[in-house]
Amino acid sequence: MAISAPARPRVRPRNRPFPPEIERRFEALIFDWDGTAVPDRSADASDVRDLIEGLCRAGMDVFVVSGTHVGNVDGQLGARPEGPGELHLCLNRGSEVFRVAPRGPRLTHRRSATQREERALDLAAAVTIERLGARGLEAAVVSQRLNRRKIDLIPLPEWADPPKAIIDDLVEAVDARVRAAGFAGLPEIVNLALAAATEAGLPEAKVTSDAKHVEIGLTDKTDSARWIAGHLATRGIGPGLVLIAGDEMGPLGGLPGSDSLMLVPELGRSTSLSVGVEPSGVPRGVLHVGGGPDRFIQLLEDQLRRRLKGEPPGMDDDPGWSLSIVGVDPQQERAHESLMALADGRIGTGGSPLLTHAAARPLVLTAGAYDGPKPESQLLAAPLWDRLQGAMTPRSRIDRLLDLRTGLLFERVVAKGAGFRSVRFSSLARPGLAVLAAQGDPDLLEPGPAIRLPADAPEVRASRRDDSSWTTIRSEDSTIATTAWQTMGGDRRTASLVRIAAYVEGPPRDRVLERSSGHLRAARNAGVERLIHEHRAAWARRWSEADVTLEGDVELQRAIRFGLFHLMASVADAGEAAVGARGLSGPGYAGHVFWDSDVFVLPFLAATHPSAARAMLEYRIRRLPAALDVARERGREGARFPWESAASGRDVTPTSARDRRGRLVPIRTGLLEEHIVADVAWAACCYADWTGDREFLLGRGRGLLVETARYWASRIRWDRSGGAHIYGVIGPDEYHEPVDDNAFTNVMARWNLRRAAALGNAAGVSQFERLRWLEIADALIDGLDPRTKVYEQFAEFHTLEPLIIAEAAPRRPIAADLLLGRERVHAAQVIKQADVLMLHHLIPDEVAPGSLVPNLEFYEPRTAHGSSLSPAIHAALFARTGRLEEAESSFRMAALMDLDDLTGTTSSGLHLATMGGVWQALAFGFAGMRPHQNALAIDPQLPSSWGPLEIRVRYQGTPLRVRVERDRIRVNAGGRTSLLLGNASAPLAVHRGQTSFERSGHSWKEAPK
């Protein structure tokens, strides 16, 4: 990889090889100082300094772990790295961390003992020395360092400062000394010190020994390692990419080696080695390399050499965080490319093999760039940035791995005895920027042009400028400018490639090409390693806001993260975000924006990354004028948003299509599926409720609520008895059309009117108009039978053939319109997906109390679930009613919708709304979370087979980690917030930090700290 290194350290020729586990590029290095990096504290460390500075410059994060203080380590090391890799000194045996930059070390973390703890440490040390002395073992406190007391067990001049090389002799001498005093060995002395610490009031004291000393402290190297693990998580570097080196990994004098304390569970998938003598061997899983500091320096040189030669970043195949595909299955390839798609909210790129393959369908899409203002408009195909010269052969071997943690797509290819490895990403830190880095045999790694035009591109211009190439693709609505640069390096045996492409989309006369060139220039100046670091860190921030963990089910855990990954990747968090039904993962649904976006995708973002939800709403806001025009043209007031939306904001729904029986059928959703109007209003309120941004509804978002209410007010028709009706619509159950008084449409409209009226005077709506809205809302027919509490889905639904699809179909889900034919389902009580029940999911306070259970019992058996939206919503509803086995089964189906290609159409893109539904099933359903009464309601209902479920959200500005179990809730709050637990009627306040609650009958009570 190209490293912008002004001064590279000298890298000597390689010595003997390392064990195969180390023969790869690591992204972070953690090592002990004394004995590992330097033989002693007086040794010249200039080689180590040069190498560390070089490694940081080449992108590696380096952590020095030592028991000593910053003066000792920094004084000896003296490194002043510039980055992008970071150098941290984790010192004072786990109590301090310094970040070292060109200006020197800066304290970033310190564990400060309280006065009580200081006194307790003194007391523990004194008692220990006294008890040793009572047995005839002379010992002395040799230093009172930060948070610890160090006791010398062999305070004799000849053992004043023994070099590490004679550790065997030291251990023998100390052992003889303690045994002479009647102790069984060092472990007994450590236990004695521990007991003294506990008696002194430090039950969690850390007692360690390096044979010569025993130390009683508040921290030890485990604290350093844990801090590092946490810090690496913020950098997007998983444990699988970490190398830990020490010289005392193995037991010493019967005690665990001091460096083995770095092997904490949080770094459990890291690679660890020892360069020490290790007289008693090393723990299982640790590689014993030996060779001391000289060998360690060779290790640093090897890591630096790999980076200077352009080796792509290491690959972390953590099963909970990665998706792997081996080979190319011509049957499944296009679906696999959707699964492996990369996106940054602005552009999306299919996960095709880099080399040409007949089954592949390389694709780059740009969010919101359509090919014209027409019903058949679709997303413009953008130039391809990820193509290499050459083609796969039948004997080529390929494997791809998508790292969900970091959005890096790795690919390895072997063909004709040659091979290459690559990594590519769509930068979340710099949306619109795409990067490819590869290294391999020159015969196979041929770059070809940096960008290639897609087939059938409309108006195209392309040329070269300086050492970059550029293209523009124009439609009536938009222009996509792409500027790309690439460079080859290496030698006769190994070639390396770096390619960067910058995409900018804008209106036709926008200066997109200049902006694209500017982005590319800035990216080149940053260098690939910095781009990778920025990108990883950006993903780490997103996961810190939104990760969901489900313990005990690896398959579901990965499926959940897979969905969250693509949800986050598909939506920009600035400007406007036009989120098509398949996001940026494929061309399906022409990139048109449906209610999928407002009702299914947006809630996840409102609850985790509000700026992205806001960008989705901005898309609707900017198309409000078109919605106002359409309403006026239809003789209505207010805003009539389109069922399918693209660039202009006018409806782009096709009017006819061939069905799977080959018949031309009319498509009337564009004309009649009007609940989209209320769905848009609901999305605006969802955002406001989660964020607490109520100014939004009175300001820029006002039209989304007010103008939609005006639409409904003009849309209803009165009957003679004062009932208000909405005639001739299509509800979410699209098997029946047109219908009158669809319960979903009417109740959503009622909610829309009431919510808009509740804005009051501040919204600039007259009291007269608000009262009229409330009057209409009260009069709207909703089909509720007060006796049964069942809503009639639409007028006359109950007169249709009472066909129970759960009994009639060979299985469910099933596309009942294909099974029975359109005419039959139209005449029967067979529904496609949640319709009435969608009300219970979206606006539970607007439906009759206690009506969920009877409606679920009535409608679910009549539901074919022939929509991919259906399983997730039903999972949530089953969970709310305690039907947990059905909830789990529906949930699993939804979570695996694309991973198992259950629709057979994953090839045309991922089902983003299903992914949003999966999150809603977890949050709204299983965890029972939703904004309610100005508090966050939590009411968990977990299947017995599930372990704890932890969901991260941001409620009204406060980040929360909510961990739910069947009988326990644990909330980690980033500030003060209000919760409403179970069936409580009043919210309770929680403050920054962790609060736990236990189930007590039907309510929850705070658990003891």
Binding site: Y589, D659, R660, L818
Partner: protein, 234 residues
């Protein structure tokens, strides 16, 4: 040069000749004639290495024994119906398939040859009730997306170079209906060359009820499902 073996039998002579000549024209092959009897002679000639297809009527077989006889032939067989009358002009081919790899790879060659000869190919996918898709979100997009993917998976020709038909129901009946609806000049079916009871149900139905020549393409691998003449989508 390859040869098309035309099996001449009383009552089907002209029809077989006409179809064989058209098939040979498409394959750029010569027509080689073989008398119907003795049947062992037909099998011997059909096994000649240069024979690329066999055209046969079954005027002389009882219907129930036809498949048993031709099952011994490992080349593509064009069966000419008894009622068929020349002249014959081959322009439009119906290729029913459900999408198994074995079926697809067998029929892919037939489709390629058809396309190379500028024949109009209609791929017919028949789903039985138990293989109806679970989901059908928005017809306006799902049909096309699903069809494109189906063709991409099971047919090597680009989707825009052929027509695609989808039917739901009993495969044999739906193929017969499609033949009646679409009027192809040839139906190409994969088959496992087994004719024991319970096998080759679809092939039997199509041979019995379609009044156009039927091309039987031997499958490379057999299964009980494939022996019905179609195979399941995996």
């Amino acid at each position: 040069m390859n040869a098309v073996l035309a099996v001449i039998e009383p009552g089907a002579d002209a029809a077989v000749r006409s179809v064989a000549e058209e098939v040979a024209r498409l394959l750029n092959a010569t027509v080689r004639f073989s008398p119907f009897r003795p049947w062992a002679g037909v099998l011997r000639q059909a096994a000649e290495p240069d024979v690329s297809a066999v055209v046969i009527g079954h005027a002389s077989f009882r219907f129930s024994s036809f498949l048993g006889h031709v099952g011994a032939i490992d080349r593509p067989i064009v069966r000419v119906p008894v009622s068929f009358r020349p002249p014959y002009s081959l322009r439009r081919v119906l290729v029913p398939m459900v999408g198994d790899i074995a079926t697809a790879s067998s029929l892919a060659r037939a489709i390629e040859v058809s396309r190379a000869s500028d024949l109009h190919v209609v791929v017919l996918h028949v789903a039985e009730a138990d293989s109806i898709p679970a989901f059908n979100d928005q017809t306006a997009y799902e049909t096309e997306a699903w069809a494109r993917e189906f063709l991409a998976r099971y047919v090597t020709i680009p989707p825009d170079q052929m027509d695609f038909e989808f039917r739901i129901g009993d495969p044999g009946w739906e193929i017969v209906r499609a033949v009646n609806d679409l009027g192809p000049d040839l139906v190409a079916l994969g088959w496992g060359r087994r004719s024991s009871p319970g096998r080759a149900r679809v092939v039997r139905r199509v041979l019995r009820d379609c009044q156009v020549p039927v091309l039987l393409v031997p499958l490379a691998a057999f299964s009980s499902v494939e022996d019905q003449g179609l195979a399941k989508t995996s």
